[in-house]
Amino acid sequence: MPPRVNQLGLSRNEYKGRPSTLCPGCGHDSISNQIISIAYEMGIEQHKFIKVSGIGCSSKTPAYFLGGSHGFNALHGRMPSVVTGALLANKDLSCVAVSGDGDSGSIGMGQFKHVIRRNVPFVYIIENNGVYGLTKGQFSATADEGQFLKYYGLNEMAPIDLALEAVISGASFVARSFSGDAKQVRALLQAAILHQGTAVLDIISPCVTFNNAETSTKSFPYGRDNEVPLHEIQILAPDYVHAQEEIEVGDYEAGDIIDVEMHDGSFIRLKKLDNDHDPRNRRMAIDVLEQSLREQIFSTGLIYYEEPRPTLADTEDLVSTPLARLDEGSLRPSKDAFDGVMRGLMAS
């Protein structure tokens, strides 16, 4: 039987990268797998995507997916600036970028917040495990207060909540998920790829080697037993008829469904579970994150969404052709223009 193919005639295998070198069972690998799956399902053209990362276990992963996309494994905490430059150079590119909690929460906190401020349109995935893996198990800035790790003892610092930081910084798309919840990760990835602004996905992704004890809120057992999805998520294509006219969606009442219309006309359909979270409400987004932090509730889903403000390329008022593709005529003003400048500088 021939392999299944997507609308481009490509099999899922063709969206893979090189074999992973991470620890067997690493949460990051399951996220890479969801990226591969959603890229395959969406039928993305890989040459129109770039994948960029910082440094750390998580930042190795772009080598393991989308082998047909240009990739850049940059510097620790500096992925956002590289993405900014690349997407200014070619605004027609889409970007999936991977960072970690050390990469974004410590060394790269400044770049994390400033790329959001500039509203560079890309998918900013934080594979968050609360621990430094490559250097063998130090606490990261997102580690739980009071947590005990074998080599480094007690963590007496309060954690930084990167989803909260993203909302506060003005991100127009902020989600939290769990690498063990493949379906939700996929749905959020799809929405984030469609989003026309910085989309931050803070995905709790357990480190099976250094931080996977049941007592850790970043562990598989904890996530499996304690994840509280805020809603069920479904992405509906642009040609979808609006929810109000089509209420036969399972057991849900009209009021229990939120359809978030996206820039390209797609909808994020959120089916209510046992809470009233509306991601279009910034106050609610901050409240749900603060409550989660305070009461250690592992709330996942689309935390915050707003109609994106102009992207950096819009703000820069750039020509329609990507800057990297301009020809000499657009790159060098004429001899006449040059002579005019020289004349203006002359004494007489």
Partner: protein, 610 residues
């Protein structure tokens, strides 16, 4: 601080001295003196007198001492003079020292108030301007009064040394972009002081300006503006920066010329991002260069320190980008508003591990423009960061120059493959790998994101990699890559701008220098020649150095390496680069925060050679 007093020339005769003397204007910064000084410089420029203005200013917004030196030179010498014959002493805080620095026969123009304290020398001329009384006669609104007060010395100078008032008005109009109201307000004050000087001051000095034909067809500009203009004509697409003296005006320059590159709908082909710090600025240009655009950042010492991380990455991942370092005094925060050539070694070796950066070293305004555009061609041709090392003196001061030359070569994007070219490459070589050196020059072929070909993608990284850009920890891959990078450096040596060479004297003495020392060296060589000491000359314009530099060193018995840093960094570099004994190469390094003077070179070289 004062301008260092060095050798005192003998008392000059009272013969008229025309178009060959220098001013020092001492004021407080933030007092509007920049406009006054600019008006004087531009007026002399329009009179056809070769002139150079240098701002010696404090790192402060308002209230601290600032000096501006203006040198008129009928012979076209534009280096800073150690001694200025005339001082405008308008800052009570420094006036005593300013007057003490005057040579016998010098001139002090000051306010009546300051004069009471400083009138102690009988070998100079004092001209006192009753500034407060004059200002009372004007109808300048009180909000502007302090800012135009300095125009009183412009009026006095105009009268005393013969600058036509109508010409000053034209300059004011240009300065205020054609707005008559501020031009007239300033001009009224100038005229008041001019008339008062005419009636009340008896001129006892020999100095005077006279219109001449020394600037026809020439331009005046700052080096930062010239470099920025060069970048605009070099096709810059992405500019990322963080404000830092003395490089800020470089990006201001790009902003002011950005319109030259807009399309008919006023849309931009240059994106300009003020980043959160220099590190991010370096990251942005690295990302932009990787993605196929022409990217530039401009900074100075502390910013270069932050950029070290990306410089190493871009060097190793072989990503083109242009970095301007408008050098100021280090180490550390150093002297933010003083010039220096102290970043030469740091910039050249920027990045940890075995990295070596390509550097261009403009010595004058024309080269600032030329390297402004050429740096992009070199960065893309060599797939490497290119650092243009200018300095505060060139960057922020107004320089006289012949007009620039329109770029004489088409834009060179280097070895970048589009989809069709990539296919041809694969057909010819069996495969394409990002770091394959098929031409034997150390320069591989690259693709940029967005290239629609199934094999165009590669993974850029700062980690060890093989020719296919795949992660590798193998020693042989590492060594092979480093050997290729070394070969690429050797290719670069002869592609970069070669040295300026004057071998015509036949002397055994050779002077080697770089950057903005050019004018001071030129003048010092003339002085030495007058004393019978001939010298040959070589000015290095790029690193790594070209083979011609070694030839020059070995063909002279005595080499002096003149540079404006404390440690003699170019001298050190020449010793690093020379396998043979070059003990005949000696360092003449200054590094005092000021532009180099001919007298310092003349005296030190004479002493060492004698």
């Amino acid at each position: 601080m004062a301008i260092n007093l060095q050798s005192q020339p003998k008392v000059r005769t009272r013969e008229p001295v025309i178009n060959d003397f220098a001013f020092s204007v001492a004021t407080k910064n933030g007092s509007g003196s920049q406009t006054s000084n600019n008006v004087l410089v531009m007026s002399l420029f329009r009179m056809g007198i070769p002139v150079n203005g240098k701002n010696l200013f404090p790192s402060n917004i308002k209230g601290l001492p600032t000096w501006y030196t203006i040198r008129a030179s009928k012979d076209g010498y534009t280096a800073r003079k150690a001694i200025t014959e005339i001082v405008v002493a308008y800052n009570d805080g420094t006036a005593t020292e300013d007057v003490a620095n005057l040579p016998p026969g010098g001139v002090c123009i000051t306010t009546d108030k300051i004069a009471r304290v400083i009138k102690q020398r009988d070998d100079i001329s004092y001209y006192e301007i009753p500034v407060a009384a004059l200002m009372k006669q004007t109808d300048v609104p009180s909000a502007f009064r302090k800012l135009v007060e300095n125009m009183t010395y412009v009026g006095a100078v105009a009268k005393l040394f013969d600058i036509p008032l109508d010409l000053i008005y034209d300059v004011l109009l240009s300065n205020f972009k054609g707005k008559e109201k501020p031009a007239k307000m300033n001009h009224d004050v100038i005229k008041l002081a001019y008339d008062w000087t005419a009636e009340n001051i008896e001129k006892t000095d020999p100095y005077r300006f006279e219109s001449m034909d020394g600037t026809t067809g020439k331009i005046m500009m700052t080096g930062n503006d010239a470099g920025a203009l060069g970048a605009v004509f070099g096709g810059v697409n992405v500019v990322a920066w963080y404000p830092i003296t003395p490089s800020t005006s470089f990006v201001d320059g790009i902003i002011s010329f950005r319109h030259l590159r807009q399309n008919e709908n006023k849309e931009n082909t240059i994106a300009i991002v003020q980043a959160e710090d220099e590190l991010a600025a370096a990251g942005i240009v690295t990302g932009a260069g990787w993605a196929g655009s022409r990217a530039l950042t401009s900074t100075s010492g502390p910013g270069i320190s932050l950029m070290a991380e990306f410089a190493g990455l871009a060097y190793f991942a072989e990503i083109p980008a242009v970095f301007w370092n408008i050098t100021r005094m280090g180490p550390s925060t150093g002297l933010p508003t003083r010039t220096s050539q102290g970043d030469l070694l740091f910039t050249h070796f920027l990045g940890h591990g075995d990295s070596r950066q390509l550097c261009l070293l403009p010595g004058n305004l024309k080269e600032a423009f030329e390297f402004g555009w050429k740096s992009f061609d070199l960065a893309e041709a060599l797939q490497s960061p290119v650092f243009v090392i200018s300095d505060l003196d060139l960057g922020m001061n107004n320089w006289l120059s012949d007009p620039f030359d329109y770029p004489d070569q088409p834009i060179d994007r280097g070895k970048v493959l589009n989809a069709a070219q990539l296919q041809s490459f694969i057909d010819e070589h069996g495969k394409w790998g990002r770091y394959m050196d098929v031409d034997g020059d150390g320069i591989p072929y690259r693709t940029v994101p967005g290239t629609d070909h199934p094999f165009s993608a590669y993974f850029a990284r700062g980690t060890g990699h093989d020719v296919m850009a795949t992660y590798s920890e193998r020693s042989d891959d590492w060594v092979e890559n480093m050997q290729r990078l070394s070969l690429k450096m050797d290719t670069a040596r002869e592609m970069l701008p070669g040295p300026i060479l004057d071998n015509s004297s036949g002397s055994d003495i050779g002077i080697v220098t770089f950057g903005t020392n050019e004018d001071a060296v030129r003048e010092a060589r003339d002085w030495l020649a007058n004393d019978g000491i001939q010298t040959d000359y070589l000015r290095i314009r790029a690193l790594p150095i070209a083979s011609a530099v070694g030839d020059f060193i070995h063909s002279h018995k005595s080499i002096f390496v003149i540079e404006n840093n404390f440690d003699g960094q170019l001298n050190q570099l020449l010793h690093i680069e020379s396998p043979e004994d070059i003990s005949h190469v000696r360092s003449l390094a200054l590094g005092d925060g000021l532009p180099m003077t001919p007298s310092w070179i003349y005296e030190n070289l004479k002493e060492q050679e004698g």
